[in-house]
């Protein structure tokens, strides 16, 4: 499905499309002029630091909150106007699971399924059991939810989203609180959903995960969209980086500077016992990598390791959203 020319502007229909979507809480714009386009069939990673507006966007897409500006369409129909027609085709996990603590996991699913007037009653039992099995809760389905662990609740939330065959899954941080097996299962689940043609819109800040499962991604920062496209496009927009392992760190920095590169800080490797690592950003128009090695060797730098890394998604993410750890607002 992937491959081919990674040109932007994916043709075909969009599962989610927003134009100038905005949400204000008082004076604060939680989401601002959002133009999002999720192609049908994609596994779409919705990235952003805490408080950047991911959950707020999802609430507007599902018709839970009203947008203060702009429009949104889901599965080709305007939201929230076509809510009744759209939502039965959408499975959702919004900001963590929530259930009736005094009902069992199974009873909770029955209740939520019964809440939708369009859900067929005849197949309810079977569908509930299948969803429970699919998230590995078959054995714990008879337990009261108040006795569930965080990960078990998260799984039950996923099971709720899986109660019916869906055209779109909107998952807000689905692996939150899951153990490594659970995380892997969710990855597999998403892959199998995508294989069946379901569009998956998954918000996360676990980049490694997004890199493994997504075909497309968008990055939010303080309510604004700062990048979106296929994963390839996002990565290649980032800058490559050259790393040199050498005991002659000072000399290496001199050579890099002469070649017109900006050497970064020297980072000791193995607590300074081994060679140090010197890094520098390698712009696309800079000298070819082999010339750098030649220059280093010619200057008498003992090169013990040399690598050129294409920017990882994480580098790109930090580039786009800033280094700071503090929540923006």
């Amino acid at each position: 499905m992937k491959g081919g020319p990674a040109a932007g502007g994916t043709p075909g229909t969009a599962a989610i499309e927003t134009h100038g979507l905005g949400k204000r809480y008082g004076s604060q714009a939680a989401v601002d002029k959002l133009d999002l386009r999720v192609p049908a069939g994609a596994v779409f990673g919705f990235l952003g630091p805490n408080g950047s507006g991911k959950t707020t966007t999802i609430r507007m897409l599902l018709g839970l909150a009203n947008a203060t500006s702009g429009t949104a369409s889901v599965l080709g129909q305007a939201m929230p106007r076509a809510l009744d027609a759209v939502l039965p085709r959408v499975g959702a996990l919004v900001e963590g699971p929530a259930f009736y603590p005094y009902l069992t996991g199974r009873a909770n699913l029955h209740r939520l399924d019964a809440a939708c007037p369009y859900a067929p009653t005849a197949t309810r039992r079977v569908r509930v059991e299948e969803a429970l099995d699919r998230v590995g809760l078959g054995a714990a389905a008879g337990k009261k939810v108040k006795a569930y662990s965080l990960g078990m609740k998260q799984r039950l939330g996923l099971a709720n989203a899986l109660l019916r065959p869906r055209e779109l899954m909107v998952l807000d941080e689905p692996t939150n609180g899951l153990d490594p097996q659970g995380t892997r299962e969710v990855r597999k689940l998403i892959a199998s959903l995508a294989h069946d043609g379901t569009t998956v819109f998954v918000s996360s800040h676990l980049l490694a995960e997004v890199e493994q499962i997504c075909t497309h991604a968008a990055v939010m920062r303080a309510g604004r969209l700062v990048a979106q496209g296929t994963l390839e496009e996002l990565r290649s927009a980032g800058q490559a980086k050259v790393t040199i392992l050498t005991p002659d760190a000072g000399a290496a920095r001199t050579v890099l500077a002469r070649l017109g590169l900006v050497p970064g800080t020297v980072e000791p490797v193995n607590d300074g016992a081994g060679p140090a690592a010197v890094t520098a950003v390698l712009p696309a128009a800079a000298v070819p990598a082999e010339d750098i090695v030649e220059a280093l060797v010619g200057f008498g730098v003992r090169v013990r390791g040399f690598s050129v890394d294409k920017g990882s998604l994480e580098d790109r993410f930090v580039e786009l959203t800033g280094e700071g750890f503090d929540v923006a607002r």
């Binding site: 839970l64 929530a98 009736y100 007037p117």
Partner: protein, 249 residues
């Protein structure tokens, strides 16, 4: 809650039976007549429960309807199901009404049972002085029960509306109960005469008129009209509020 309500008539009956000599003129109406006829247990219980116990339970249930789901976070999943906002509101109000019915039924049934058990039953003197047989009397008691259920529907609608205003169920419950009490306090102030017919609690104890021969229907009618009015106004307010509200819990 239903068990507590059912305990009220039992408590009354047992207390009266044990002391067995209530002086007339003390305590609520009908209390002194219980020893003579078991059917008065129900009426005494309803008189005692209508101002406080019943509104309390109705306030708790109606205040919890939407705010409880919101506070727990389940509201967003119900709406994403999609349950439909108007439909959810309707189901929640039906639930409140069903609870009100069950609450009053608990008092009536427990009262009838314990009355038959502990006291003699025979022809019952009505307020108009006529004597009717026990079956007719029980029919009148059911009519009184229906009257009390009807009386509390307005309060249920008020609670439903308040419940759409907040994500904190305890707040909605408390506000509803406080309103029920405030309305009765206002009803007791003669200076506010003009306001009285508009208070939802105004006809709450008007069921005595159903115990006349022939039945005096006017208070039943006024009460029904008032309650339907409250139902319409607060139902519309709840609808307006809930269908446009941002669900952020």
């Amino acid at each position: 809650m239903l068990a507590v309500l059912a305990a009220v008539p039992v408590l009354i009956a047992v207390a009266v039976r044990l002391t067995n000599g209530t002086r007339a003129g003390h305590g609520p109406v009908f209390l002194d007549r219980i020893t003579g006829n078991g059917l008065f247990v129900v009426l005494t219980s309803l008189v005692l429960c209508t101002p406080l116990f019943l509104p309390l339970t109705v306030g708790v249930v109606s205040g919890d309807t939407i705010a409880g789901e919101a506070g727990q976070g389940t509201l967003r999943y119900l709406l994403a199901a999609p349950a439909g906002r108007a439909r959810l509101l309707l189901v929640k109000f039906a639930g409140t009404a069903a609870f009100t019915l069950a609450a009053v039924a608990a008092v009536v049934l427990a009262g009838t049972a314990i009355g038959l058990l502990l006291f003699p039953v025979g022809p019952v003197p009505l307020l108009s002085g006529d004597l009717v047989d026990a079956w007719t009397a029980e029919g009148r008691i059911l009519l009184v029960g229906a009257y009390v259920v009807l009386s509390l529907l307005g309060l249920g609608a008020i609670g439903l509306f308040i419940s759409t205003l907040t994500d904190v169920p305890v707040g909605a419950m408390a506000a509803t109960v406080v309103l029920a009490i405030a309305s009765q306090v206002l009803d007791a102030l003669p200076q506010l005469d003009w306001l009285h017919p508009w208070l939802f609690s105004h006809w709450w104890l008007g069921f005595a008129d159903l115990l006349r021969q022939p039945v005096e229907w006017s208070s039943f009618g006024s009460n029904a009209l008032l309650q339907v009015g409250y139902l319409a106004v607060f139902g519309a307010l709840a609808y307006g509020r809930f269908t446009t509200k941002d669900v952020l819990s």
